[in-house]
Amino acid sequence: MDDCMPLQMIDRDPMAILPLFVWLSPSYPVGCYAYSHTLEWAVEAGDVTSEETLVAWLTDLLTLGLGCNDAILLCHAYRAVRAGDAVALEEVNELALALSPSAELYLETSQQGRSFLDATLAAWPSPLLMSLEGDVAFPVAIGMAAAAHEVPLATTAAAYLFGLVQTLISAAIRLAPIGQTAGIRVCASLSVTVQNVSRQALDLSLDDIGGATFRADLGSFHHENQYTRLFRS
């Protein structure tokens, strides 16, 4: 589906990945710090209580559901933009939004996606960056921007997952008895998983999307009624 020439050229330019450092930085105005993707409930329920249990929880999110699915969606959005296929892009976005298992997880992806796309359209415009109407899923918005600005796909997918991991670790540091150093250690220890998941996603189809994290999703239902909450998800 990709045009071979431009993609090969993209991959040869080491500077092409620079925009990712800005787009996925916590200071980019998407408000990622407001979301914990069910982690706040997992801490409340006693599922995440330590460095070890945090690694297990995040590994599951990456390999058994969210991480892998978001990487697949990002790849397909990227390729749709590279191919100039607006219909395929709309379909990927519709699927990405429909895959949200709860009200809060819908908000998490659609609010960050819309904010990211609006900020990027304003600050990093490109004739290739289409402006989707209505709600936009976060991984779709990242894939669109990377494709429009010729950032290599494999690096974008891995960087997106690393950004997700960092968002969740910073939430864990605020919620659980896990210190800064332990948080950094968790982040480093997940880098192999991040690379594996993003690499596999390059070859997966939209039909491969799926997950096993039934109880984590149920936790996001519970989070809506959690008594004290720092996070929106």
């Binding site: 599922d47 929880w57 149920l218 009624n225």
Partner: protein, 290 residues
């Protein structure tokens, strides 16, 4: 249950028996297409097509709606079986579909059994898809898909429960495949997509806190209707806590979702049955209680 127990159990002996004694069998294929329409305040069957081992039965109903029972006369699902079910609720119809007992999925020596359900709900119609639980034996391999299309002013309730081995019989689903793919379209839009996929070491996966924390029975209810979001508080009030079944609800974009997670199917049913009674505001299909 009675149908299968009396007619087929003897011809289908390997409820958990070892693979080496399993006789070679013909792959079962079954197909049902059913539609009903609303006429003068009641619902009448319009079309029934059956082939293979799938049948639809319509017991005399008590309410204004039509209760239909979907029967798999093959007495379960085994490797490589293929079943297709298509249900259409035409304008003004009110249909509830149930199954007579748990659907058992037996061990497979490789091939994946497939079950495809397609639900179509027209303007002003209501369709409740309420099969009883799917029971997976060790090394079962099932890929199921449910595609629903509903009009903006129609009402759809989909409920499915799955059990990975029966706790009471100390069955353990060490390995297997369960894939459950749901896609719900409302008007012109895909509004709900979910693929639950447990592939490989299922018992180990179920122990993980993000998956089941040791639970072996899951259920999901999705309700799509103009009032779905407004019913969230009512749903929450009727989810019992402290029964041993972990359950909660969420609502967004015209959907209401309820999930149940329990150590056994008995505990799960004890939470689900009172909830369905109150949530639907009418008795459950009789087969559910026999």
């Amino acid at each position: 249950m009675h149908l299968r127990a009396t007619m087929y159990v003897n011809a289908w002996p390997f409820d958990g028996a070892s693979r080496s004694t399993t006789p070679q069998r013909q792959r079962a294929i079954g197909c049902v297409a059913f539609s009903a329409a609303g006429l003068n305040g009641s619902t009448r069957p319009m079309r029934i097509e059956e082939s293979g081992s799938m049948r639809i039965r319509i017991p005399k109903g008590e309410g204004t709606g039509l209760d239909a029972i979907l029967v798999n006369t093959a007495g379960g699902i085994a490797c490589g079986d293929r079943f297709t079910v298509s249900i259409e609720a035409r304008t003004g119809a009110a249909i509830t579909i149930a199954t007579p007992a748990a659907e058992k999925v037996y061990r497979s020596d490789g091939p994946v059994a497939e079950l495809a359900v397609s639900l179509n709900v027209h303007s002003g119609a209501r369709l409740d898809w309420l099969p009883q639980e799917t029971l997976l034996f060790d090394e079962a391999r099932l890929a199921r898909r449910l595609d629903a299309t509903i009009e903006e002013d129609a009402r759809l309730t989909v409920f499915e429960a799955v059990v990975f081995g029966r706790e009471a019989r100390a069955e353990h689903m060490a390995n297997g495949l369960f894939e459950d793919r749901w896609r719900i379209r409302r008007g012109r839009h895909l509004v709900y997509a979910d693929t639950l996929r447990l592939d490989g070491p299922i018992a180990d996966l179920l122990k993980r806190p993000s998956v089941g924390n040791g639970a072996r029975a899951f259920a999901t209810l999705i309700h799509v209707s103009p009032e779905a979001e407004a019913r969230l508080e009512f749903a929450r009030e009727n989810l019992s806590s402290g029964s041993g079944c972990d359950a909660a609800a969420s609502a967004w974009n015209g959907l209401l979702a309820v999930r149940f997670c329990a150590m056994s199917i008995e505990v799960l049913r004890a939470a689900v049955i009172p909830f369905l009674l109150v949530f639907r505001g009418e008795p459950l299909p009789r087969v559910w209680l026999s």
